[in-house]
Subunit: 270 residues, 2 copies
């Protein structure tokens, strides 16, 4: 393994509005801090500013709740218009209990309120998750690489609660770049006693977003982007695989964050 990582918070971005060029804002903030990108850097961006730049902010007064939204709103003591926004982005309601509304989003993420959030936005508005955060990650990666000539990864992060443990942690909702696999497959690796690994897959992209959350803060959004420097999963892969180059290419064009989503039959908790 590599032995030293750095996590650099990039603060100083202005309030992001629909149509803003995030890549532009990022490089301006980076320059102000006399920082530049290096090959292999992972750039973690909060879903909130991605969503805002993509116009995923909704005026609550424009929302007409359906009877289902009204019913769930009563049960959970939420604003029925907010519940309607949640249902609009929902594939399946997973739990309604203790004022919580846990759903599977259209994207396949199981989280509270489909990621719809009223914090860090003007009163009377709510921010949705990006429409397709995986594609947002891919687009941002292309844009940043085009401007720097460096090979980097981009991760879109959000904060989700967990089953069985209290509190939110940073998780990944979109990842692009061969340096940060959504799932690192360790099958076939041997331990120090020559035995084969049984725990086989590490959710590296989620760990990178959890790490970035430590400098981002949960609420103030003063640090909406972080750089994680020193990850070398690709090099590791390169060492392991004879057909290194080809494998890297495959990884890059993989499914991205969808790799961490269970097939329904493998899901132990539904």
């Amino acid at each position: 393994m590599f032995d030293r990582l750095e996590i650099i918070g990039v603060e100083g971005l202005p309030e992001v509005k629909e149509g803003d060029d995030l890549t532009d804002l990022f490089f301006t903030a980076l320059a102000a801090r006399k920082e530049s990108l290096e090959d292999g850097d992972a750039v973690v961006v909060t879903s909130k500013i991605v969503a805002k730049s993509e116009g995923r902010v909704v005026l609550l007064s424009s929302v007409k709740p359906t009877p289902e939204a009204v019913r769930i709103a009563e049960e959970t003591e939420k604003d029925p218009r907010l519940v309607q926004l949640v249902l609009n982005d929902t594939k399946e309601v997973v739990r309604v209990r203790n004022n919580n509304l846990i759903v599977e989003t259209r994207h396949g993420f199981v989280c509270a309120n489909a990621g719809v959030d009223e914090s860090n936005v003007e009163e009377g508005r709510a921010v949705l998750l990006p429409k397709d955060p995986q594609r947002s990650a891919e687009r941002l990666k292309r844009e940043i690489e085009a401007r720097t000539g460096k090979e980097i990864s981009v991760l879109i992060s959000d904060s989700f609660g967990r089953a069985f443990r209290s509190g939110v942690t940073g998780v990944c909702v979109g990842v692009s770049g061969s340096g940060v696999p959504a799932l690192l497959d360790r099958r076939g690796e041997e331990d120090r006693f020559g035995r084969i690994a049984r725990i086989t897959k590490e959710a590296v992209a989620d760990e990178v977003c959890a790490a970035a959350n430590l400098v981002m803060g949960e609420f103030k959004e003063s640090v909406p982007i972080a750089i994680v420097r020193g990850l070398r999963f690709k090099c590791k892969r390169g060492e392991k695989e004879e057909e290194g180059k080809e494998e890297e290419g495959k990884e890059e064009e993989g499914e991205g964050i969808k790799e961490v989503l269970f097939n329904r039959e493998d899901d132990l908790f539904r």
Copy 2:
């Protein structure tokens, strides 16, 4: 928020055996790498080496499985002796499905196999979780602070799977030190629009262990300790609270990792 973190992997520890002084091994490895601790450092130690030093390694041939263990072993295609070790550390079986055995451990952690693991140990043996990883963290913190005079935090980490997302991530099973709260309480903080936070608690200790996992690797255990440098949650708390000192004291003597465990009535998924 602080704007730069460093995560330093500490490799070069020998194979840990019962009775070994982990603090001693840690400082030897640290010296070999010409590294020293600083005030505020968080030292993350894998539960595996803590367990080994505490003698939590069991010879499978010494285990007599009960009929219940035999039944679950058949259903999950596991070694009945291993299942017995799991049940010995189990408060409640949560799920038996698709060859998985998910339990709530005596400590209150919901995880696969009660953390009992056959990797990175000699053939025919299994490593249990530390008996009381919260106390192990407290003990290691005291020992390390006594040798350095620095104020640090210690976290014991493990890798757990998650509901609804594939792959394991680093999580915390014991934490001691005012610099890394198990849950960072953000209630009452205002966002940039002057609105009060709704997402209130961030599982900081779990995020620190996830971050450390990125340099530790899941399997080889060549890097069983990591230092996370630059966290300043305590300073942040100091700014917020009028009665700073007292609050810090309270934090330190708090419940540690038990803060992230749900009361049964708040658990949405059981």
